[in-house]
Symmetry: C2
Subunit: 346 residues, 2 copies
Amino acid sequence: MKNSINEKSANVAFISVTEMIALLKRIGTEQFIAGLVEYLEQDYRQWEAFDKSPRFAAHSPEGVIELMPTGNDTLFGFKYVNGHPKNTLSGLQTVTAFGVLSDVATGYPLLLSEMTILTALRTAATSAMMAKYLAPKNASTLAMIGCGAQSEFQVIAFSSLLGIKTVRLYDINAQAIEKCRNNLADKGLNIIVCASANEVVQGADIITTCTADKKNATILTSDMVSDGVHVNAIGGDCPGKTELAADLLNRADVFIEYEPQTRIEGDIQQLPANSPITEMYHVIRGEKPGRTSDQQLTIFDGVGFAVEDYSALRFVYDLVKKQGNCAQLELLANPENPRNLFGLTV
Amino acid sequence: MKNSINEKSANVAFISVTEMIALLKRIGTEQFIAGLVEYLEQDYRQWEAFDKSPRFAAHSPEGVIELMPTGNDTLFGFKYVNGHPKNTLSGLQTVTAFGVLSDVATGYPLLLSEMTILTALRTAATSAMMAKYLAPKNASTLAMIGCGAQSEFQVIAFSSLLGIKTVRLYDINAQAIEKCRNNLADKGLNIIVCASANEVVQGADIITTCTADKKNATILTSDMVSDGVHVNAIGGDCPGKTELAADLLNRADVFIEYEPQTRIEGDIQQLPANSPITEMYHVIRGEKPGRTSDQQLTIFDGVGFAVEDYSALRFVYDLVKKQGNCAQLELLANPENPRNLFGLTV
């Protein structure tokens, strides 16, 4: 599928919020995440092919607006994403996002998609993909610290890809726990509501920290985490926002997405700039080990990288192509004589 | 006008190609450009308020895809723009663009607009605004070197804002000249078709160079340009792409948009990094002189800066607000309970 071109414009496939929801319902959230994991692994395997740069960020007292671009020699993608913690006070999302996938050969955008929902899916898919290489064998219990907008997607990804059967939930907000429990009620999971972070980690094979406070917090201390556990730490994702105690990081083998970004944004921002880490593309390609023993404590210090958004946009675009029809946005002027742009306007 | 919010999403005003054309026809191209010049001057006057950064560029053998972000404490804007010279061979535009304007306080996008046409309008408005400060008094004759997609917009801007009565046209492509002449036939201008660059500059008060070749070309040499002329040089706008001979630049007073970008992208990329220039915001604010004598040779070395796209998006958004209705894109997921993003998907 290329841009559909009419007399005066080239159209771009458009996935609205409603269409993304319809796509998810048609395919199934579990299958969507599983498909996305395949695309993520394909793109992580060709890591060097991507033009990688730190995200562009416009900071204000209220929050941040970011542009996350990346591409290879065939496709270019970028995501627009904001982070405004106080938005929830006025009934708005803390994080909203949309993204664009373009044809490198012509520079024409091919797809514009909502990415608020898609980012939650790609973050869950990324966490589960990393855990395939890092989590203990036969992991069956997941502890979720933070039951916000991401939480159900994380649980579904770990349940369908890692075989998690028991989910332990904790949040400082009891309503958030209740919302998460209700949303997961029909998923065939054993769900246990816990009253503290200390309680929720008991017996967990995998601990996910996904909290929203924009500060250097200590959600997990070293004494709370047993050997052999995998920590999926995804809430500490910008400068000044961390979740793990430094001694926990020092005790574990730490795996990350992209060192130049994670040193600034991840939990390892607390550690010296030469602290040992492993970039996950090496592990996914089999060049470096992931988990090597039952006793190993592993941490995925995830911050979200542009390649993952690229994979998500590429996955959605391929779904749309297979489907064969999609709403079209008349976004690009495209006069029959390219030099006669003015001719369109009279 | 804020985002219109329904049960599950926040909508973003959308200006398609068709709607941009309708807006132009309703308002009139001359009036649109005049309104845009007011917005440009307002934003140039508050230059320091903008978060300025060099554009992000993803280069490929076929062309470049760029993201141009900027903002102040109330609004953030960015433009996506490609440059693919070989696109015309397959009937596509060399340059297409779209842009987004967002509310800094919430991070929510407010407007998504086509910008292929809007960029041509803002470039013409910018050239004319700069010429208000730089062109000789009572300028009546404009020479256009390059009759591509930009040319008619430039002529209309100089005609309506500077009072240009005679337009001399030249392009290496005779069909491009003919197209431009036809498009301008009903504008009440004296149009003279010329056979060479040497001929077209004869008697011109203002010379616009707007050629497309992606190379270091010499469209204007010093001997072709008389004292007292204003040169509006807008085609040399990326590394390796220039139009003016170095000795012409050295002879003139050179005015630019934003030094860090123009040193790399403008015609002055040929000159030493400390060659004398004046940033135009000083001139617009009356802090530094523009034209000071009838004999002065002035050059506006324009490359196109993100603030100008911001002004254009802000102008269109205000038009849309006044108009009161606009197509809405369902781009942002916005569940009633912000934590319950998952609830939208089931």
